[in-house]
Structures are given as structure tokens and as C-alpha cells.
Amino acid sequence: MAWFDYFRQGKQGSAKLAKERLQIVIAHERIDRNGPEYLPQLRRDIMSVIRKYVPITEEQVNVQFEKGTDYDVLELNIALPEREH
């Protein structure tokens, strides 16, 4: 039904969502791949320690690993849930 497609043009497609999801998952996988072998386990261990005190999910822990010339940098970014008043 070509006439129907004509009126549907301009509708937002799902490609944008695909790109965003891919960028996130690939960034994570690259860190695990390029960082030291203990990194995935380290991430899990840190998660379990924090979970003893505050409930957090996988997405709230961001691990960055950067290779420098003199030293490597391991950066942990943990977004804690909002405090209840």
C-alpha cells in the first residue's frame, strides 16, 4: 500500500534507539576487553560490597579504564540512590 506509506513518512524510527543501545553496550564490553583481566570480577565484588549497605543496580556502577603512558587509571563512578528524608 504505497499511498499509506506516503502519509507515514517522517515518523520517528527505531534506528536512533538501536544506536544508543549499541553505544552503551559496546563501551562496556570494550572496557572489559581492554582493561586487566580481573576487571569484570572486580566490578562484581565492588557491587556486592556496596549492596551490603545500599541497594544499587548494575547500571548505577560505571567503570572506566584508561591506559596512560606512565600509569593506567581505573575510575569507578557509583550513583547512589536518592536519600530518603
Partner: protein
């Protein structure tokens, strides 16, 4: 000096064998002595795509095990001069491919003055895929504009950068991205990842974009590499890709939607 090129992707069904067949044929058509090897032990299919399935007597594993000579196992292509096919074994298990065995076959091809050896990788990241990429100088990473294919390609790029002979020697495999099954109209409608999106995510130099085309199925049905179908868009896109691989500067085609008139859009 032989150049060893792996055609790989991680994900299955994205067009590795179609690409290997077209690529090897394109190189041979330009006068280069070319061998194309099927590394998919147990799931042989390159022979069908090349149209030589009834001429298989010995295979890759027979050569590795010393049961046949390389000369006996190589099938000379009937359509294209300078082109030779080494089929995979259909019966053995994939452990039959050893690093020493594959290395020896590739060395023998070098000594036979082959200009190019195209290694058609199986899907996955198991032994067959590892052996197909291990000796490579260049890698053609075949990707569909689809999330699982792009992710798997990134995974394969990681392996190319760590699990190859070149990587072990502190050198690197030259990487080339080939996007297949591309549909410009769906990209324009926002339904499909565009070429720029994939390039931004994978950050690998683009060597070609093959449009989604009926001619690919017709080619495999008849056992004739699609590059020989010179009237088809996919055949022409593969030919452009081969020329780029050989160093020519060729503009990319088939990236935009053919403009239709108002009535064709309404009733076409």
C-alpha cells in the same frame, strides 16, 4: 609476496561466504593469482556459492593431515582464470584445524606465488574463526545494519587486535569494514542504522556498502559469485569494493534512495 585476507563477522548469515566468493573472484578477474579457503569445517558452503560442489574430491583437512597434496585439493575455477578454491571438510570435527597445519598450507600457497589468499571464516568465535584470522594481514569485517551484527563485529575487532599472529608480534591486522544488506530507504525512514552510525560505533575504515539485493539470492541459487552479475547493484558494489581494496579511489554508490515521482510514491 602473498597477502592473506580474512573475511569475518562473528555473527552468522551476514554475507561472509557471499563476500569471500565475490572478493576472490574480483581479485582473480584483475589478474591476481587467488586462492579462497573455506574454514567452516563441518558446514561447508563456499563450494556451493562458487558453483564447484560437484568437483570436490579432497579438502582442507585432507591437506593438513597429509592425505592429499595442496595441488590435488585446490579446485581450479571454471569461469575465472587465476582463481582456486580450497573446500572445507564436511565430515571432520573442527579440531582438525591446527595452527601448525593451517600455517603450513598458507606457507605452501605463498611458495606457489599466490598473490592473495582469502580466508572465509565460519561464524562464531571458536577454533575455525580463530584459525581463519590468525595468519591474516588484512581483515574484511562484514556487518549488517542490525544491532546484534554490529555488536559481534566489535567483538571480532577485539580478537583481531589480540589473537592474531600480527598482534602477537606487536604489529596489527589492517581492518576494513564492509556493510552488507544495506537498505537506503529504510535508513531514510529511520528504521535502519545508517552507514555513518555504524562507522561512528565501530570506528573502522569503510571499504564498501553492498545494497540489499535480489541478485545475491539469484547468484547463490545458480552457484555464480554475484560480482559476475555486472548488471546488478550488488555486483557493481562488490566490484567497487575490490577496486578500493586494491588501492583505487572509488566513490561510494547505492547509499541514497532513488528519487520517485509523486505518483510513483503514491501508487508504485
Amino acid at each position: 609476496m602473498s597477502r592473506i585476507v580474512v573475511v569475518t563477522s562473528g555473527k552468522g548469515g551476514v554475507g561472509k561466504t557471499t563476500t569471500s566468493a565475490a572478493f576472490a573472484t574480483g581479485l582473480a578477474l584483475r589478474g591476481y593469482k587467488t586462492a579462497v579457503i573455506d574454514f567452516d569445517v563441518g558446514l561447508r558452503n563456499l563450494d556451493l556459492i562458487m558453483g564447484c560442489e560437484r568437483r570436490v574430491v579432497y579438502d582442507f583437512v585432507n591437506v593438513i593431515n597429509g592425505e592429499a597434496s595442496l595441488k590435488q585439493a585446490l579446485i581450479r575455477d571454471k569461469r575465472t582464470e587465476n582463481l582456486h578454491v580450497l573446500p572445507a571438510s564436511q565430515t571432520r570435527d573442527k579440531d582438525a584445524l591446527t595452527k601448525e597445519g593451517v600455517g603450513k598450507v598458507i606457507n605452501d600457497l605463498r611458495e606457489d606465488h599466490f598473490d592473495f589468499v582469502v580466508c572465509d571464516s565460519p561464524a562464531g568465535i571458536e577454533r575455525g574463526a580463530h584459525m581463519a584470522m590468525y595468519f591474516a594481514d588484512d581483515a574484511i569485517v562484514v556487518t549488517n545494519p542490525e544491532v546484534s551484527s554490529v555488536r559481534d563485529s566489535d567483538r571480532i575487532l577485539g580478537l583481531l587486535q589480540s589473537k592474531t599472529q600480527k598482534a602477537e608480534q606487536g604489529d596489527s591486522v589492517r581492518e576494513h569494514l564492509l556493510i552488507t544488506r544495506y537498505s537506503p530507504s529504510r535508513v531514510e525512514a529511520g528504521e535502519m542504522l545508517g552507514m555513518e552510525d555504524i562507522l561512528e560505533i565501530l570506528a573502522v575504515p569503510l571499504i564498501g556498502v553492498i545494497p540489499e539485493s535480489q541478485s545475491v539470492l539469484q547468484a547463490s541459487n545458480s552457484g555464480s559469485p554475484v560480482i559476475l552479475d555486472k548488471a546488478s547493484d550488488a555486483g557493481q558494489a562488490y566490484d567497487d569494493f575490490v577496486r578500493r581494496f586494491l588501492g583505487e579511489t572509488v566513490p561510494h554508490r547505492f547509499l541514497d534512495v532513488e528519487k520517485k515521482g509523486f505518483f510513483k510514491r503514491l501508487f508504485g
